[in-house]
């Protein structure tokens, strides 16, 4: 049993690239629509909340609300891009489009495929994060080099949420079940993790729980990078926590996919 599970793992450090390149080719054909679609939502939120709410709120943690929110939006968009790519596009490739079936008839393993999909989803997070960062920097809400500093965290955040969504699609019988994950897990996380308002506003018991959630670690890394503050609570701890959130679901989802696809 353990041996056959090990046989599913990525066979080398580069096989997954073929899967990534397949997705990149497919994306290139619809790139413009994809970029616009991915950006419209976070940028609308940034302006709507930033300007509208920002007037009432005033300054937050020593900065303007829109600058505070811009950093949160980068984290949120990294989360949603990777999540939606995985829930909808990866699910289609795994299920209805039979893309995975074709790939698994070659020399690639299930682990290679899952890894390629994860890195691909993280790449889309980087794309979305970069675009919002550029908007924020252009408007003067973040410094240019700080966007660059935030990118490793954006990529890691993409991996985390792609990995978590991978578990969801390995279990979901159909698209209809994704809504539970979105409304019961992701939406609360947006409000709990300090992306749109400081976590200190929450009751202290909530703060303890929220501090464990992956988005909180992302926000705690991205916001100081973009606002050029010191990271609270130690960057290593946040990075470590995000790595656990990325790696554990990878192994869990690969085992679940095996049960679903290779029986």
């Amino acid at each position: 049993m353990g041996e056959s599970y090990a046989a599913l793992m990525p066979t080398n450090a580069s096989n997954w690239i073929a899967v990534w390149r397949r997705n990149f080719l497919a994306w290139r054909k619809v790139a413009l629509a994809s970029v616009l679609g991915n950006l419209a939502d976070p940028i609308t939120n940034l302006f709507g909340l930033g300007f509208g709410l920002g007037l009432i709120v005033g300054r937050v943690e020593g900065t303007s609300y829109i600058a505070f929110l811009a950093a949160g939006m980068v984290a949120i968009s990294a989360m949603t891009s990777a999540t939606f790519e995985t829930l909808y596009a990866t699910f289609a490739r795994m299920d209805a489009k039979r893309t995975w079936e074709a790939i698994l008839s070659t020399q690639l393993t299930l682990g290679d495929v899952v890894l390629g999909e994860l890195v691909w989803a993280a790449s889309k997070s980087v794309l979305a994060g970069t675009a919002i960062g550029i908007v924020a920097a252009t408007l003067g809400y973040a410094s240019w080099p700080s966007i660059l500093y935030a990118m490793p965290t954006v990529a890691l955040t993409g991996l985390v949420f792609a990995s978590l969504a991978m578990v969801v699609i390995s279990l979901a019988p159909s698209y209809d079940y994704f809504v539970f994950y979105q409304t019961l897990i992701l939406t609360p996380m947006v409000f709990l993790c300090g992306a749109v308002f400081p976590m200190s506003q929450l009751p202290s018991s909530f703060q303890h729980v929220a501090g464990l959630l992956p988005l909180a670690h992302s926000v705690d890394l991205i916001r100081p990078a973009m606002l050029e503050h010191a990271t609270s609570g130690g960057a290593a701890l946040h990075v470590g926590a995000l790595c656990v959130y990325a790696v554990v679901p990878f192994f869990v989802s690969t085992a679940l996919f095996r049960r679903r696809l290779l029986r």
Partner: protein, 306 residues
């Protein structure tokens, strides 16, 4: 058969889902360069066997060896030298024909230069040269199947595993695929194909295994199976009461099968049977040489669903 010369070897393989037995203690061996058919109706376990050969499903019991590799343990290594034509097309519909081949070559770790070197010959093989830059979504069913076949050849495999390669194609497209498969056999490839088309099995397969409910009910060369189990002419009779007709022709028949409203009469001297039926209005009589359909009917007492 010597293990080192066999392309595929199954020994006592069983597979169940819950309490439903899909494959039941199946053993067979496929020699290199041979075209071997798994013939049976839907639900006989053909696709399950194909998936087990590729390591995409594990047997509950028994041993599988493919190209000298134990499967599923080392299926990945075996798959490097296997080409797969799945039952349902899983091409990239938004990609062009050429892009489909290119992307698939990369899954085998082939370099861009190596892929570009083989693509022209694959396009020619699939007779898709003029469609190289057309999106797959715009191709006909027969063209898609030919592309799937070309794609399966990109890694220059020793063995091709084909699950119902011509199901759903019109006769013209089907004949073209058969012709292409014969070319591959002449190049020394080993082919394992599953089918429920008797004609396909008879035309292509050197040997075949007839399956029913996951069990092997016969194995051998198509004409040998026909000789062994039938060995005489067949007269199909419809348009009358089959039971009444059975009594009428029984003395002259070696064997009789009734399936639905058709009577299959197997007779050494078909003229004697025809004399009995002469003058009976409304009967339609068809005399023909025996085929695998008759073998299946003989062995199972029922016709294979088409």
């Amino acid at each position: 058969m010597n293990m080192s010369t066999a392309a595929i070897d199954l020994a006592g393989v069983s597979k169940s889902f819950g309490d439903k037995i899909i494959v039941n203690e199946l053993s067979f061996s496929v020699a290199r360069g041979e075209c071997f058919g798994l013939l049976g109706p839907n639900g006989a376990g053909k696709s399950t066997i194909a998936r087990m050969l590729l390591g995409m499903m594990s047997p509950d019991e028994g041993k599988i060896t493919v190209l000298n590799e134990p499967v599923p343990a080392r299926a990945r290594v075996a798959r490097v030298r296997i080409g797969v034509v799945p039952q349902f097309d899983n091409l990239e519909l938004e990609f062009t024909v050429r892009e489909n081949l290119r992307v698939f070559g990369r899954y085998f770790g082939m370099s861009a230069r190596k892929i570009e070197a083989v693509v022209p010959s694959l396009l020619e093989f699939a007779r898709l040269e003029s469609k190289a830059d057309v999106r797959v979504a715009a191709l006909s069913g027969g063209m898609k199947r030919r592309l799937t076949l070309a794609r399966a050849l990109i890694n220059d495999p020793h063995l091709l595993v084909m699950d119902e390669p011509t199901t759903g194609l019109d006769p013209h497209a089907r004949h073209l695929i058969w012709e292409r498969l014969r070319v591959l056999l002449s190049r020394g490839k080993t082919i394992l194909l599953t089918t429920h088309f008797m004609e396909e099995a008879e035309r292509l397969c050197d040997r075949l295994c007839v399956l029913e409910s996951g069990r092997k009910i016969a194995e051998g060369k198509p004409d040998a199976l026909i000789d062994e189990h039938i060995g005489c002419n067949v007269i199909e009779i419809y348009g009358g009461d089959p039971h009444e007709l059975t009594e009428l022709v029984r003395p002259y028949a070696r064997h009789i099968e009734v399936s639905g409203e058709t009577l299959f009469c197997y007779a050494q001297y078909p003229e004697q049977v025809r004399v009995q039926l002469r003058g009976r209005a409304g009967l339609r009589i068809l005399q023909r040489p025996p085929n695998l359909e008759d073998v299946f009917l003989r062995l199972t007492g029922r016709e294979m669903e088409k």
